[in-house]
């Protein structure tokens, strides 16, 4: 293991120089730690393949600027998003490979003891930028220590056709789940139905299933990691899902992640939930100008739980203990989170990435287009996977095994609520035992 030596230059000249370079906001935080990259340091970052070109460009530009300023070469390896998890887990346990990883969901909790705590840096950055949102923070803090830096949430929101909603007799988008059901019924009646994936859609399927459960105040496990899916709340969620399912376009049981996008863009469904990419797919295609004009977005309706709660897709950055250059890695993170650079990155991602820090909510990207507005709420409504239990291999395994997705899919395709719940409880119990 590498011995970590942090050089704190609280009031030193170098510290001041660095702070002033960081702009006004950081200047006020003289307590920000400073890291001096080891001589000859080189870094490798493993990240997921970018979804948005502008995001990749902004990240790489920031990274390039870091290299120019410090002389530390940063290599960025991209892996398709489902391959990041196994790769990072193996790197963590073999003790070689990338120095840092941009990983998904509860990944840092799979190997917390293989990561360098970044508490000091995270606290300083949080303080300087209005604080962390609770949800993303939950994905990064274990026993009071930050084992990762929360980066962003890939927001999920309802995308619908405004004209179809109006034709169905609604002038405003309903904010509660009861009104939402009425809207979907009306859309169905007009032959412009909604559609949410009940198939094994890693992202969209899990988002929808977790919203169904959580908005009805259900939970997979309680605080003591005891499986708590067998509850009245779950039965209510299932009953709601069954009602909603009746209004869907046929075939949603087979939908994978891309199907709802395809069906929406082809005009087959008029309402679904997706990342902002759906809007951009329409906007960037001249043939779909009409649909792009008609798209509106909205946060998912609020259920009996009384507030907006969603899974979204969350990503964070962590540093492996096996890195030879921990100081350089810390400096890199600090550099990337510096306000101007973070703002440039958020803008580059055109509303795809909702930052984990409250201070970036005023980024112009959120107001530049009303379509973006719901996606700005992602970090706020985000609730960590495996609620209300702790994060770890069990919560990750349950999601990867589609336990919740399957439970709702079974229930809407004819199984009784009791059977579906029993199956889910049993499978979840295996992971949490």
């Amino acid at each position: 293991m590498v011995d970590i030596t942090r050089r704190h230059l609280m009031a030193g000249a170098a510290g001041l120089a660095a702070a002033s370079a960081l702009g006004g906001r950081a200047f006020a935080q003289a307590a920000a730690p400073t890291y001096t990259p080891e001589s000859g340091a080189e870094l490798r970052l493993l990240r997921w393949v970018p979804f948005v070109k502008g995001e990749e460009a902004a990240w790489n530009a920031n990274s390039q600027a870091f290299t120019e300023a410090t002389g530390v070469k940063v290599t960025i390896d991209q892996e398709s998003w489902e391959d990041v998890r196994p790769k990072a887990a193996v790197a963590a346990n073999v003790g070689s490979g990338p120095d840092m990883v941009m990983s998904w969901f509860d990944d840092p909790f799979q190997y917390p003891d293989k990561l360098i705590p970044v508490t000091e840096l995270a606290n300083a950055i949080g303080e300087a930028n209005g604080g962390w949102y609770d949800g993303p923070r939950g994905y990064a803090v274990k026993d009071g220590e930050f084992i990762a830096m929360p980066l962003c949430a890939i927001g999920n929101a309802i995308c619908y056709r405004d004209s179809h909603m109006k034709a169905a007799g609604f002038s405003e988008f309903p904010t509660d789940s009861a009104g939402f059901l009425e809207l979907c019924k009306a859309l169905h009646g007009k032959g412009t139905p909604a559609g949410f994936p009940h198939g094994k859609a890693v992202g969209d399927g899990n988002n929808y299933a977790h919203w169904l459960l959580w908005s009805n105040d259900g939970e997979m496990v309680d605080e003591q990691s005891k499986v708590a899916i067998d509850s009245e709340a779950t039965r209510k969620a299932i009953a709601y899902a069954q009602e909603l399912y009746k209004t869907f376009i046929p075939g949603t049981e087979s939908w994978l992640d891309i199907n709802n996008n395809r069906a929406f863009l082809a005009g087959q469904v008029s309402l679904t939930a997706n990342g902002v990419s759906l809007y951009y797919a329409a906007k960037n295609d001249p043939a779909m100008a009409e649909i792009a004009e008609d798209i509106r977005t909205h946060v998912l309706p609020i259920g009996p739980v009384g507030k907006s709660v969603e899974l979204h897709q969350t990503t964070s950055l962590s540093i492996f203990k096996h890195t030879k250059y921990p100081e350089a890695a810390m400096a890199y993170l600090q550099w990337m989170y510096e306000a101007d650079r973070m703002n440039a990155w958020i803008e580059g991602a055109s509303a795809y990435c909702c930052p984990a820090l409250k201070g970036f909510a005023d980024n112009p990207v959120w107001t530049s287009n009303p379509i973006h507005a719901p996606y700005a709420k992602a970090s706020e409504s985000l609730r960590p996977n495996g609620y209300a239990g702790p994060l770890g291999p069990a919560s990750a395994g349950v999601m990867a095994d589609y336990v919740l997705v399957d439970m709702f899919a079974e229930a809407v395709t004819g199984a009784s609520a009791d059977d579906a719940i029993r199956g889910a409880a049993r499978r979840a119990g295996r992971y949490y035992s």
């Binding site: 198939g199 046929p250 395809r262 291999p393 899919a409 499978r427």
Partner: protein
């Protein structure tokens, strides 16, 4: 010999027949041990541990298998695997043999057809699976579209959304892909059957069915045994097609043991349990191999008799 012995083991190795034989076999042996025996052994070992991705496990005996024996999804995947393998293999055999018999006749453009037949097999599985994904799409299926244009149905067929539809849809895709292998191999077998036998039988007044039943089929049996063994093995262990088309959905109705093993082991991180599912496939695969090698190759069967 005696002199070589005195020269020590090195001399024996390089100068005797057996020693040289050992040396020549060494590369193959090392290759087999490193890339076949070791991974297989490791896989079997993992099945008896609670290894998670990136976390060493401890030996837990049969716990994985006990758990699986009570797991509805596992048994569903076993059923699916057998159903898939059985129906797809029978169809591939029947259609493949039929195709081989047709191609063995003197057709115009015979070579052209023989080449075309191979196409489905040449296309990478993932590509053909993607094509089938569109063909079976719940909204954009070309089949549904054509049938709707003809006015035969009102709504698109829910190919991959309804459990039995999904099972037959993936079987159809697998059969389409697997026929060429069976057809071309059996065609090769057919061409080794001497024409004189058929001619002699024809002179004796045998009908074409009798000739097929009494001459072609018995002589073809050894080839059929080998071809079908391979075909069954390929089908039983199929992964790509399912993963692209359904990922095992709807509600696990098309999960095969191979796809379930992957889902639990890699994205789910439960390497031990995934390995246990994979190991559970071995007895069935062995049974299929033994059946074809010791059963189908029996003399008496080949000569058209029973036991």
């Amino acid at each position: 010999m005696a002199r070589a012995r005195r020269g020590g083991p090195l001399v024996w190795l390089t100068e005797s027949r057996n020693g040289l034989g050992l040396i020549f076999m060494l590369p193959a042996a090392v290759f087999l041990i490193c890339f076949l025996t070791y991974p297989l052994g490791l896989g079997v070992w993992l099945a008896f541990t609670d290894t998670k991705i990136g976390r060493a496990g401890i030996f837990i005996g049969l716990e994985n298998f006990t758990w699986l024996s009570e797991d509805r999804v596992f048994w569903l995947s076993v059923f699916n695997t057998f159903f898939y393998t059985l129906i797809a293999s029978v169809l591939k055999f029947a259609l493949g043999l039929w195709l081989a018999l047709i191609l063995n006749e003197n057709l115009p453009f015979k070579n052209f057809f023989r080449a075309v037949i191979l196409l489905p097999w040449v296309v990478p599985t993932v590509l053909s699976a993607l094509a089938f994904w569109w063909i079976f799409d719940s909204q954009f299926s070309i089949i549904s579209w054509v049938l709707m244009k003809w006015g035969m149905i009102d709504a698109p067929i829910n190919f991959l959304g309804e459990p039995w539809n999904a099972r037959f849809s993936v079987i159809a895709a697998n059969v389409w892909r697997g026929i060429p292998f069976v057809a071309i191999s059996l065609l090769a077998g057919l061409q080794t059957i001497p024409q004189s036998l058929n001619e002699a039988a024809a002179l004796d007044g045998a009908t074409s069915w009798q000739r097929f039943r009494r001459i072609t089929l018995p002589l073809l049996t050894p080839i059929i045994a080998v071809v079908m063994t391979f075909s069954v093995l390929f089908t039983f262990t199929d992964f790509q097609l399912i993963y692209v088309l359904t990922r095992g959905g709807p509600v696990n109705a098309t999960h095969l043991m191979a796809t379930l093993s992957f889902q639990r082991a890699i994205p789910g991180g439960q390497l031990g349990e995934g390995a246990a599912i994979a190991v559970a496939m071995i007895p069935f695969l062995l049974a299929a191999i033994l059946f074809s090698f010791f059963g189908l190759q029996r003399r008496r069967w080949q000569q058209g008799g029973g036991d």
